[in-house]
């Protein structure tokens, strides 16, 4: 048993922490207020080779492991939830399907520019009528004269406005239901493909969330990712990795809540002493710190299992379920510790709450995570 990070993992975490403190955190409140996508920060992430962090160098990646990726993601999200979500969706949803299932040519052509940060990665699974039940995909792709003809729509898709192509799921064999789903790479400039960014969200204001519409969009046959009709299995395994990452994001937000709350509690004086001297406040901080430590260990274990090539589906769901729920809870407690100021935008904790809530929904709701865990228990 060894709880030490490797020297590489430590240095990656420390460098990203420094970068996040100096370059990302000072911009987070403004990003939240204006909803402006922080493209300049994404460019800087690319300069540090973060946009391809866990992928091999031959595709422009940095060749680090998943533990390192999750550590980096925790730090970025601690500074700014929106930037964290942009980064997470790029790596876990955008790059990963191509890396895991793409042909060598597809990796050269699509994964390499993603790893270099030339464009953002995006993955279109969710549809108006297929959310938790993503097997109920209704978008269709029909092979005609060596081209896939795609019709349908997707909703809530992250990063697509800044993507050159989106990997989407579509029914390629209606008769087989969810076993007839395939993944396809669709260039965003293909005729008939519309990306619309118009959602007004509770939080994650600086993250780009879009709807996709496909009206007889044609892509070459070779844009199929991996084998035909394997899409369902593919996205389940993509989501496993993404769930570990969302767990790390939850820890990032919860850590930000703890840091803000501790600093505030030590400096705020009531009844002649700093409120951190009141046991009621201390217990909140102690519980927060304990849950953060547990959630961090959980995502690190799940990421480690993934790096070892071992099964990690159940642990991924646990990391996501726990990490996201403690983030929301930490944010609520952080607001309480801040009193009236917690409710005011001048302090960051109300933003933490609005950002954290998404983590209990995206990439499988808490209910879905409990279903996965229960299934792994044999229910």
């Amino acid at each position: 048993m060894n709880f030490d990070l490797t020297p590489d993992q430590q240095m990656i975490r420390d460098v990203v922490r420094d970068f996040a403190d100096n370059e990302i955190a000072p911009r987070a409140a403004e990003t939240d207020r204006t909803g402006q996508f922080p493209m300049d920060i994404v460019k800087k992430l690319a300069q540090l080779d973060l946009m391809g962090l866990p992928f091999p160098e031959q595709y422009g990646g940095a060749g680090a492991d998943n533990v390192s990726y999750c550590l980096a993601l925790e730090e970025i999200t601690r500074a700014c939830g929106s930037t964290g979500l942009t980064y997470e969706a790029h790596i876990s949803l955008g790059c990963m399907p191509i890396y895991l299932f793409g042909t060598e040519e597809q990796k050269q052509k699509y994964l390499t520019p993603l790893c270099r940060g030339e464009c953002l990665g995006s993955f279109g699974l969710t549809e108006p009528n297929a959310g938790s039940d993503a097997g109920g995909t209704q978008t269709t792709a029909v092979l005609e004269d060596g081209q896939w003809v795609i019709n349908g729509s997707k909703c809530f898709i992250t990063n697509a406005s800044f993507a050159r192509f989106v990997t989407i799921t579509a029914l390629t064999d209606r008769s087989r239901g969810k076993r007839g789903i395939s993944a396809l790479i669709v260039p965003t400039d293909a005729p008939g493909f519309t990306v619309r960014a118009g959602y007004e969200k509770l939080g994650m204001h600086g993250s780009n969330t879009t709807e996709l519409f496909f009206d007889n969009v044609r892509v070459p046959a070779e844009n199929l990712v991996g084998k035909q009709n394997q899409g369902f299995k593919q996205f389940l395994s993509v989501l496993d990795g993404g769930r570990v990452a969302i767990g790390a994001m939850g820890v990032g937000i919860a850590q930000a809540c703890l840091e803000a709350s501790l600093a505030y509690a030590q400096q705020r004086v009531q009844f002649g002493q700093s409120i951190s001297k009141f046991q009621a406040i201390q217990f909140k901080l102690a519980d927060m710190a304990t849950r953060i430590e547990l959630a961090r260990n959980m995502y690190l274990k799940a990421a480690w299992l993934k790096d070892q090539g071992r099964p990690y589906s159940k642990e991924a769901s646990m990391a996501k379920l726990y990490g996201s729920e403690i983030a929301t809870r930490a944010a609520l407690e952080a607001i309480q510790i801040h009193g009236g100021y917690g409710y005011i935008r001048e302090f960051p904790v109300e933003r933490y709450l609005r950002d954290a809530k998404l983590l209990e929904i995206g990439e499988g709701t808490s209910e879905v995570q409990r279903l996965v865990i229960a299934r792994a228990l044999g229910c």
């Binding site: 020297p7 590489d8 430590q10 240095m11 990656i12 460098v15 420094d18 970068f19 300069q47 540090l48 080779d49 973060l50 962090l53 160098e57 940095a62 060749g63 680090a64």
Partner: protein, 256 residues
Amino acid sequence: MKIVVCLKQTFDTEAKITINPDGKINDQGVSLIMNPYDEFAVEEALRLQEKNGGEVTVVSVGGAKAQDALRQALAMGADKAVLVTAELAAMDEYSTATILAKAIAGLEYDLIIGGFRAVDDGSAQVAGRVAEILGLPVVNVVTKLEVADGKALATREIEGGSEVVEVPLPAVITAQKGLNEPRYPSMKGIMKAKKKPMEKKDPAGLGLDAAAVAARVCALEYFLPAPRAAGKIIPGEPAEATAALVRALREEARII
């Protein structure tokens, strides 16, 4: 051009300093960083190398943990590292400079750069001593550096202004804040760092016996500054308040 950078691992600038019952500084659980002034030195060396080609070697005298600071420099882009671990009961600037100079003497160099001081003991002596031992010119607190035709043109801070100094190479330059903005190590840089050579030595291996490196200065005592007392507000009309302030500064604070 061959550049050697001297660097030291120090306490994090935000570390809380405490003193053990035995009177020594407590280093348990303190996070360690590369001395920030040495980061300017590493950055400057890398920029010169990017412009003129050559090689950057980073050298540190310290405990085994100092490899982390060296590895950070390798991740930023330095080519190789030398760590001299000295297990001495007491070290002073003389010991460190003697060991550093000996380690550097075995390397090829056109330029030696270091931070002008370390943020921990703040003595600002080591680089100057190294220059003296190696018989090289030294320019301190440099905020701008240009190197061409076997010469260095260094701008340095002086009281009330700055001074431009020209020295022949090889020379020792010490970095002041403002020299540059150090880069973050890139992720690829971090992954490559562990494949770069890190040579480990000790004073005996460099041909230095215990007497040659024994400290000349002995720290007798460490103590923390007195905790800051609460501030004081002097009430009243400006004229009276000013008089009271001056009296307090003279009689209580004794600073005027």
